[in-house]
């Protein structure tokens, strides 16, 4: 110990920290130490640096902040002595994260140390560089490292080789500089250097195709020979691991052969013998041997087709799979997933074993096995495998049920041979794991049920039975509630019995009990309650004899804490009470849900494809993005098209009563009270199962409105939309609302559905091209502007390959429709038009701005024009 130093020794500090009984005590000790270290750092005494940094590293490991010590690392690295440098580099690697600015400061010291006369100092620098270097450092120091690959001492050569792997990972362009040096390392005898050299070659092959070609041509035979030598070598105690000579080297050589052989039949052919030898001769009773076999199998499966070898590989995997060691079984499951691509039959043979693994007590193995089983399922074995999986679902751990049920649903949906089977299996899953089932899965189930008209009776009875036992499974309850609401009459009358079914006696009151249970249960979520409320309304018409009881249940919901529930309860109560004459037509059974539309939409709900799928509905105000405009419109799932389509039908004035709520006060009232989003979704779900799209909306609205001709097709809807809603609709609507809400006084603000007109502008004009923008606002969506761009060719020649591109700042969202053509004739002979829609998230605060680039071919020459549009009219 240095006699001049003050403060505690490292060992004492560790002891003091370990002696702490509580976390608070530990914090106090660490705080004191840190204060001392800071003070010493400020004194800048070189004697203490070494020890201070060691302490800081320990404190860092305990999870305390130590950034103030980072500069100390740099000072230690810059000092001349080896001990200081050693601890300095260690600190550098430990304490620094992505603080590039500090790292930049160390580049110079690293450069000096890479050229140091002491090889151990060079080793320290290489190690640090290999572990933490950034792309900039890699570029700066690559020449030094490259030179050190040929250093006389093997210790430096191997470090330089691994350091190079880091450099080429960070800066792939540098790969070609290292190819020759790497190739020379393959001839090394020193195992450390050979291992790192092979690693470097492997890395270069992955990064650079030319390097791969080079190694393939020059080194394939050499690598094979090295592997053969090492495989056949006599016992070498220094490298022996459980009877295998240097398994690490084995593995790296096999890995290099894998990239060389992949995609090259000749190279693959050359390595067949040695791979067969490794696959057959390697001892498989110890982990080291199995690690080599594993790598060998992977290589065999990756290189070009050598079917005899593949049989060998599959056999090894089969052996692995029946191994008692969990690690080996895990690996086998993993590899069989890859093997399935080229030999499905061979993998299918292990199906029973794999299925057993799904039930393993080890979560890691279960997960792998489940993935594999999913791949093994096909039309022939789906019923058997599904049965096994569902049986297991009943007894599996709670935390595995989510994964398991998701996979079962996936399998059932994908391979279902018939609807009855599908419904049966899904019901089983819902019973066992209903609370884990995702929304799209039970939505899909409802769509299928709706489409299977001959099974309605069977399904609703099965659901009724199930829900009595498994009432805690949320999604099961939802599906049951929906079906009982729709098909309640089939439930009580045993309509549509199918062969295998036991008849049950259900009274109307029993059916209502289930719904009442769902709506009153404290842990039902809002979606379930909302669905139950709709079901009650429907049942009030299906079961007229007990409509009084149903009404009582609905009335109770007037006191619900959820605004939506309250409002619906009041409305539904009014329907039950005062509009008996139209009730039955109002709550008629839903028409068959469109499976195709649902599937498209479901696929479209994945982010990647969302925009493309959503395109067709772009001109509907709420078809494109979730509307901020008319939350209530969505709540009732009535699109504006319905409003216009409906008036001719029987329940017309009533319909307008219902709709009046939307038209009159929706935006003002609900915009102000911040209608809860959950509420929006909630009723959305009741009525249309999912997010709005034109087709779905019209379907679900039929449900509630039961008008004969509402089934307007989307194009029709577009037409009606683009024309403003006649003002009298709004007026009648608001009076209708008074009627419905029993005198609750709303403030019907007659919303101008037709926005103000905006002047057209010339967005761009050059000597050859003119662009004009005309604007329109979709009704009720002030943030969005539809822009029609018209391109006019001012030159004497036709433009071909015309492309218009536009970009907007972040607060805007831009959507481009396809242009009317890509050939722009001379002015007077026509123009190209293209529709854009811009959504301004800062509407009212910022005005639109757009940058554009126009490319076209004029007389076969590419022309590019660019411009910025900042003269948009205000208020867009």
């Amino acid at each position: 110990m240095n006699p001049f130093s003050s403060g505690t020794r490292l060992r004492d500090m560790i002891r003091a920290i370990r002696a702490c009984k509580t976390a608070a005590e530990e914090r106090a000790v660490v705080r004191k130490e840190c204060a001392d270290i800071r003070a010493l750092i400020n004194e800048d005494d070189p004697h203490d640096r070494h020890r201070n940094l060691a302490k800081l590293m320990f404190i860092h490991m305990l999870g305390y902040p130590t950034h103030f010590g980072q500069m100390e690392c740099l000072k230690l690295i810059a000092s001349p002595g080896f001990p200081e440098k050693r601890i300095g580099y260690l600190g550098l690697m430990l304490l620094l994260d992505e603080r590039q600015e500090v790292l930049m400061l160390v580049t110079n010291s690293l450069k000096q140390d890479l050229n140091h006369s002491n090889q151990y100092v060079v080793g320290l620098a290489l190690c640090a560089l290999g572990n933490i270097c950034s792309a900039e450092m890699a570029r700066d120091l690559a020449p030094e490292v490259e030179r050190l690959i040929q250093f006389r001492d093997p210790n430096i050569r191997k470090k330089a080789a691994l350091c190079s792997t880091r450099i080429v990972r960070k800066v792939p362009d540098l790969a070609e500089n290292f190819v020759n040096a790497a190739a020379s390392l393959l001839k090394e005898k020193h195992h450390g250097v050979l291992i790192t050299g092979v690693q470097l070659c492997y890395e270069l092959c992955l990064i650079n195709d030319e390097a791969l070609e080079y190694f393939r041509k020059k080194c394939t035979e050499g690598v094979i020979k090295t592997l053969r030598d090492i495989t056949n070598s006599a016992y070498q105690p220094e490298y022996d691991v459980a009877g295998i000579t240097d398994p690490f080297l084995h593995i790296r050589l096999l890995r290099l052969l894998r990239v060389i052989g992949q995609g090259d039949a000749d190279a693959s052919d050359l390595m067949t013998d040695i791979l067969a030898q490794v696959a057959t001769k390697t001892e498989s009773n110890k982990n080291a041997g199995n690690a080599v076999l594993y790598e060998c199998v992977e290589t065999i499966m990756a290189i070009e087709d050598t079917s005899s070898l593949r049989v060998l590989a599959i056999n090894i995997l089969g052996r692995f799979l029946s191994n008692r060691d969990n690690n080996i079984r895990y690996v086998a499951l993993n590899m069989l997933m890859k093997a399935i691509t080229f030999d499905d039959q061979a993998v299918q043979r292990h199906r029973v074993t794999v299925l057993e693994c799904v039930k393993d007590p080890d979560a890691s193995i279960r997960k792998r096995a489940l993935e594999l089983v999913t791949l093994l399922v096909n039309e022939n074995n789906v019923t058997q495998l599904t049965k096994e999986l569902i049986d297991y679902l009943e007894i599996s751990d709670e935390d595995f049920k989510e994964d398991l049920s998701a996979k079962i649903c996936f399998i059932v949906e994908k391979f279902s041979p018939e609807k009855l089977w599908y419904i049966d299996q899904m019901l089983k899953v819902l019973c066992e794991a209903g609370k884990f089932v995702k929304d799209d899965v039970w939505h899909a189930l409802i769509v299928v049920i709706s489409n299977a008209s001959e099974l309605h009776g069977y399904t609703v009875r099965a659901l009724y039975r199930a829900v009595l036992t498994y009432s805690e499974q949320e999604t099961l309850v939802r599906v049951a509630v929906w079906c009982i609401g729709e098909y309640g009459d089939l439930l009580v009358n045993n309509v549509g019995m199918i062969g295998s079914e036991d008849p049950i006696t259900v009274t109307e009151s029993d059916a209502v009990d289930v719904i009442e249970d769902a709506i009153t249960r404290h842990n039902s979520d809002s979606t379930t309650k909302a669905m139950a409320l709709v079901a009650l309304l429907k049942l009030s018409s299906r079961f007229p004899s007990i409509s009084e009881r149903i009404k009582d249940i609905i009335v109770k919901q007037k006191g619900s804490l959820l605004l939506e529930m309250q409002q619906r309860a009041i409305e539904y109560n009014s329907i039950v009470d005062r509009h008996k004459n139209i009730r039955s037509s109002l709550v008629e059974r839903m028409p068959v849900l469109d499976e195709a539309t649902f599937n498209v939409r479901r696929a479209g709900s994945f982010p990647a494809s969302a925009s493309t799928v959503a395109k067709p509905s772009v001109s509907l105000p709420n078809g494109f993005e979730k509307p901020a405009v008319a939350p209530l419109l969505d709540l009732l799932d009535l699109d504006s098209d319905d409003i216009l389509a409906a008036p001719s039908s029987s329940g017309a004035d009533y319909l307008q009563d219902l709709l009046g709520v939307d038209l009159g006060s929706s935006s003002s009232q609900f915009g102000a009270t911040q209608a809860p989003k959950a509420g929006t979704d909630l009723l959305l779900d009741i009525l249309s199962i999912g997010t709005p799209s034109p087709a779905q909306n019209s379907i679900s609205s039929i449900d509630l409105l039961s008008t004969a001709d509402v089934n307007s097709n989307p194009s029709n809807a577009l037409d009606t939309l683009s024309s403003p809603v006649p003002p009298h609709t709004a007026t009648t609507a608001s009076t209708g609302m008074f009627d419905l809400l029993d005198g609750l006084s709303p403030s019907p603000s007659k919303e101008a559905t037709n926005g103000p007109a905006y002047p057209s502008i010339v967005a761009y004009e050059s000597s050859s091209l003119k662009i004009e923008f005309t604007f329109s606002k979709p009704p009720g969506n002030p943030q969005t502007t539809n822009v029609q761009a018209t391109f006019i060719n001012l030159s004497p020649n036709t433009f071909t390959d015309f492309i218009f591109q536009a970009a907007v700042p972040k607060f805007l969202q831009l959507h481009l429709d396809p242009a009317s053509s890509n050939t722009l004739p001379v002015s007077g002979n026509g123009a190209i038009t293209q529709n854009l829609s811009v959504t301004n998230s800062q509407h009212g605060k910022k005005s639109l701005v757009m940058r554009m680039r126009i490319g076209y071919k004029l007389n076969g020459k590419d022309v590019l024009e660019e411009g910025q549009v900042s003269n948009f009219p205000c208020g867009l």
Partner: protein, 174 residues
Amino acid sequence: MIGCFGRRYDMLDNIHFVLLVSRQGKVRLTKWYSPYAQKERSKVIRELSGVILNRGPKLCNFVEWRGYKVVYKRYASLYFCMCIDQEDNELEVLEIIHHYVEILDRYFGSVCELDLIFNFHKAYYILDELLIAGELQESSKKTVARIISAQDQLVEVAKEEASSISNIIAQATK
């Protein structure tokens, strides 16, 4: 960018990090080969020690975590963990862990947790002779031991020099 085997070039390191935790969840060593911000590191450690320490004794040594695999092995009171990609050879990583443990054992003479606490920097030095950039650099335990002892020697010499100088100063200023 996806490499031949689905590996991303920017995360190409074989071993992303090494972690030693005690049975009580105390961290004994951490080494990060892929970039993780300081906050992220403590989160990773917390998450993983939660998962690994709670696994039963007879289960396999692999845990799937955030799309990676963590290979761990328990030696006495210490868990040695290494994080690798989905496609990497788990069995080999088990061997690497064992390799490291054997070298530690030789260096400290039947190593125990206390050795690694009080000489944590030595454990790091040895790890640095075994792995660089998350890749194995030496398969011979003997070679690692030799290089470490050569460097320890250098430190000793420097220390002696320093203390002899300070003795001279001390005597001169008496």
